[in-house]
Amino acid sequence: MSLVVVRALGLVTVQDAGRAGHMHEGLAPGGALVRAALVSANRAVGNADDAPAIEVLGRLIIRAEIAIEIATDRMPRRVLARDAELVIESEPHRATYLALRGGVDAPRILGSASTHVAAQLGRALVAGQRVSSAGAPERVGVASIAANRGGAIRVLPGPDAYAFAPDALAALLSAPYRVSPQSDRVGTRLVGPVIARSSAPDRSRPTVAGAIEVPRDGQPIVLGPEHPTTGGYPIVGVICAADLDRFFAIRIGGDVSFEVGHVATSRARS
């Protein structure tokens, strides 16, 4: 089965669980921005949880070359006629995933089919491109997850307290931040209360997805799946791994509040 891309707006890429194990050579794992939504789309068509699917950050219009059955998390199961167009929008969420039964057919590079823009592994989808499944399937699944569940996003403070003014963490927790349109898979920029730095100079240190870096202007950047493996901005806190999906699911222009989480209690919350 083939789907043909009619239009891709924003960033539309193939993503799976990413390629762990290469950070020592400067390559962050990458992979789906909102992994729970990737899993949900894959389950809707009976795929393995981490099968390659299409991540839509923006809008994708596709045309099916045969009749296909669509399972989505937003409307009842239905059949899309041959040559009909399907519009998949990430709004009102940040990311939506389109899974094809059998998995999207894409080359595995260094162990993963995920597109990694910075490392030029794979490429964003463009109009005219065909997308095939690795199986023999007439079913697709579409899924997002809503971010507005579970309340504040939990953060473990530190480790760079020396690089901040004493009230920096209090500022982060004081009021909601807005997710800036200047956000991508490398970093999510937030606009809100200024997080004051100390006079400590920038030092290039290891980073991690979910780290809340603070440049001199005091407006935080949360590192995403394609983050640089080292960065010069100090880290005021790191989002708990269990809350990363909820954070990255917040739409552009949406609000996020933070609270302090604790190691060993940061279990999944929904």
Partner: protein, 194 residues
Amino acid sequence: MTERLGDRALRFARPHAAPARILEAVKAWPGVVDAVIAAHDVAVYFANEPRDDYDARIAELATLPIEPVEGREHVFRVVYDGEDLPAVAAATRLTIAEVIAAHAARTYDVASIGFLPGFAYLDGLDERLALPRRETPRTRVPAGALAIAELQTAVYPFASPGGWHLIGRVIDGPMFTPEHGARLAFGDRVRFVT
């Protein structure tokens, strides 16, 4: 001191052992999926929240040998035509020919890898060429650019913003490929020839 970098990673001061040995050791720890060896720190990444106490293992890293492991020898062909050559010459009070000769005379070691996929910070720069980073970073440095800053040199694997001084470009191939990942690894030694 060991610090938590979120609930799935630990960060600690880089021991004075050969980086290839540190990397090999930490990647063998239970539950470890990734590691970054930066200029002054090591970060170790776990599949799940680390529950064991890793302090003893971290302390043991300091007993690893400082002698580098035998890596590969690379000879990169370079055109020394970087935009910043005249400024580097002026700031170092050398001629452009002397800057080039000083850079090409040395053999460099991989000190750390980070920033971009395949971006290796190379130690061994001639002290006469040491300059602080540019006050205003460029918004775009082309892939393959050969640059210097402080006591290091590096080749930009991909086009990116950058604050180092551009002295030339490497003309024999990419620094990161889908097939093999990063071209340079810890223990490797690098020379540049015209």
